[in-house]
Symmetry: C2
Subunit: 195 residues, 2 copies
């Protein structure tokens, strides 16, 4: 049975365990074995810093044990995906494993960046769209920076967009389930959830 690492900022939720349990159950229902970053049994450490390193080691071990990843790229504390999830998606892309991603907001990367600049984006002399700070904007009809969206799409993985309600921004599993369904059709032993 293929193992899927479930990457995303859900680990920071007050009800992280419940959301991760729901994701894990759904993953099993589609015929995959879930590996959650929340399933942590971390070695105690003398410092916070060392404890952080231990979590890093554990999560990398989980990724190494997995056959693929579903990454929740919903923007987190700003306009971009959680940097830990971005790191993990890059890690899994490098290994040639199965990759899938979803986001729970409808605005694409460009729209979010324009909003970051309150719409004050202009075409510069070099032909690039730039904010008042001079930094250029990516405008590639993608949900995230092109390395993330492109890394998944170029490997044939699904990039699912679903507009969740604000109060379910990190717990809505519609996009997550769509990823599972597509992966199951292509790689799983079953075409859908258990009856």
């Amino acid at each position: 049975m293929l193992k899927l690492y479930l990457a995303g900022p859900e680990v920071f939720l007050p009800n992280a365990r419940a959301v991760l349990d729901a994701k894990a159950a759904m993953t099993r229902a589609y015929g995959f074995e879930p590996i959650c970053p929340g399933d942590l049994v971390i070695e105690p450490a003398p410092t916070r810093h060392q404890f952080g390193l231990n979590i890093s080691a554990t999560d990398e071990g989980f990724m190494n044990a997995a056959d693929g990843v579903i990454a929740n790229l919903t923007p987190f504390r700003g306009i971009a995906a959680d940097p830990g999830t971005a790191f993990e998606l890059g890690y899994m892309c490098a290994t040639g494993k199965l990759v899938a991603a979803y986001t729970n907001i409808a605005e694409n990367h460009y729209a979010r960046t324009v909003a970051w600049y309150d719409g004050k984006v202009e075409l510069a002399e070099d032909g690039r769209k730039r904010g008042p700070d001079g930094l250029s904007l990516e405008d590639f009809d993608m949900i995230e920076n092109l390395m993330l969206h492109g890394g998944v799409e170029r490997r044939g993985g699904p990039v699912v967009i679903h507009k969740a309600s604000q109060d379910a921004l990190y717990s809505d599993l519609t996009g997550f389930e769509a990823c599972l369904r597509i992966l199951a059709e292509k790689h799983g032993k079953m075409g859908g959830p258990l009856p």
Copy 2:
């Protein structure tokens, strides 16, 4: 000669070429061959989306050709590293290549997240520090999410912190040069810049 991929948000600067050229020259002075994401000769494409995919393919090819990475994790449009750079650092960590990182601000990940919440962070019943939105904060004395900082440190790579002036936030190369110096001492043929 070892090749280093120079990851970071400099590609978005108005003077991207000049900053990347300066990084490339400095990289050569320390005995490494630079590979810049700005060195793009991208295949034309019928759509913006396909053009973005082509850049993704080119940059991944650059990473595959490199022996290591120096990642600029200076926060970009918010409190976190550029997600493209985070992806690239994860990608390089997965391959067992040389990794190094620097940031041009002094505040660590935790301090930046507390500032994001205007200081309104409290210890929750579960023993975690949480913002008013209930999301927990990482507090591991690290410059970024633990997967990034931990991924570099656990591989023995340098994580350099340098406080740059605001107007040189992405162009100050002090931390970048410190990474080069450390990599050169450990892995290069030379111990410092050319005389």
